[in-house]
Symmetry: C2
Subunit: 273 residues, 2 copies
Amino acid sequence: VTLTLDRLSLNQATVKYADLGEAIEVCVANGITGIGLWRDRVDEVGVESAFQMIAAAGLHVSSLCRGGFLTAADHDQFAAAIKDNIEAIETSAALEADTLILVCGGIPAGSSLVAARSRVADGLDAIADRARQLGVQLAIEPLHPMFAADRCVVSTLDQALDLAEPFPVDVVGVVVDTYHIWWDPRLESAIHRAGDRIASFQLCDWVVPLPADMLLGRGHLGDGSIDFGPIAAAVEQAGYSGYVEVEIFNADVWSAPAAVTARIVGDRFAALT
Amino acid sequence: VTLTLDRLSLNQATVKYADLGEAIEVCVANGITGIGLWRDRVDEVGVESAFQMIAAAGLHVSSLCRGGFLTAADHDQFAAAIKDNIEAIETSAALEADTLILVCGGIPAGSSLVAARSRVADGLDAIADRARQLGVQLAIEPLHPMFAADRCVVSTLDQALDLAEPFPVDVVGVVVDTYHIWWDPRLESAIHRAGDRIASFQLCDWVVPLPADMLLGRGHLGDGSIDFGPIAAAVEQAGYSGYVEVEIFNADVWSAPAAVTARIVGDRFAALT
């Protein structure tokens, strides 16, 4: 598998306490040419400045996090979510990001899993045109089933593909994030099925035991249970040749200096290849 | 859906701090005719005494927990697991339990998900004959994917069915436990596929947020995110007409008096029907 260093992208969330300037700096210092951005950090400097900073550093934006949260049962809340997604699409276009990642949302109070899932499809319908106009590829991210209730009712890659299928590939793709889908017995066939719908490939290990806040139970590559080789091989075989992001939510990783974290990310990535 | 009270079974783990005598007592007091047993609580009084106590109270054993943990990479540990499963099968037969529930085990240090899954199949091969001899139906329980690393590499009902398929239905079945598989986008078709392989149907709600110990993130029916009606309807349509166990791992539920817990279990179950 050709996970060469020139394909590595550092997701900004991995160096959570660094601002955009520092995140760019540690990428450059470690030969990392891709960066995955978060809207709040971009907004701190403004979209245009952010794009200039990134371009000046010779970096490429592999993804923007995030749109989504399309499951609101309340009409006004749903409309507000659509508006927010349109803004995210415009930001993604301005940053020339490879893709805008969508975390689809959980089950609102009084609603059900099935109803929430159907609203995700409605939401995609409502935002896909704007994405197409601006040449932005949306990426539906299946989240681990432990987040199905409160964060994302899309739980498997196959389900994300079912949602993406009505749309052209260059408008709606999917995310392969090892942390969320490594356990899936159908993962290999789902990745094969995904083919050129793979808009983003993210790496992160699964540590045992998970900490109290499940969102933070992620580890540097090699610190957990995930066998990355077969997943990376399947993604490559499916035809994906874009950036490979490392995205780690972990309190210990976050409390380390960003420069240290970026170095470890690079070393561990190199060890996989 | 005909979830009538005569189909309710109280899994002993729901009243964790009650011994077998007290668990039987609260079942009888609440008109609950089925009980799901755990081997440690049975061993406290001995298998024969346990069976006599249960029969004298007019109860039926809907399941015995548990066998499994078949993923050891070490030869001696794997052999010990097989021996333990054979004992569990004999206990299950002596108690005239409807089924012996198997929690298949996690990924041992230095092993991989794929290798561990293949050892589960080997383990089933090694114990199925004894189950057939004694007329015990084994039940493979898919556990929530958040337990794939450390507890059970079988994560979906379809995967459990793939493992069960080489064996006769009355030797190897599957468990439908709402807590573990409610999120699965393919759940309805998997339950349909399961048909008469369904050896146990367990109910338990998913509460948000999960507590620090994920094992304890379960709630009384109605306290969480699960829509039980469609799942119960699918299980009924698949042909399952046996006991329906309520099994709740939750520190607050455990700290309530067993009599109170059993009454709530009965009330919430009645509210579903």
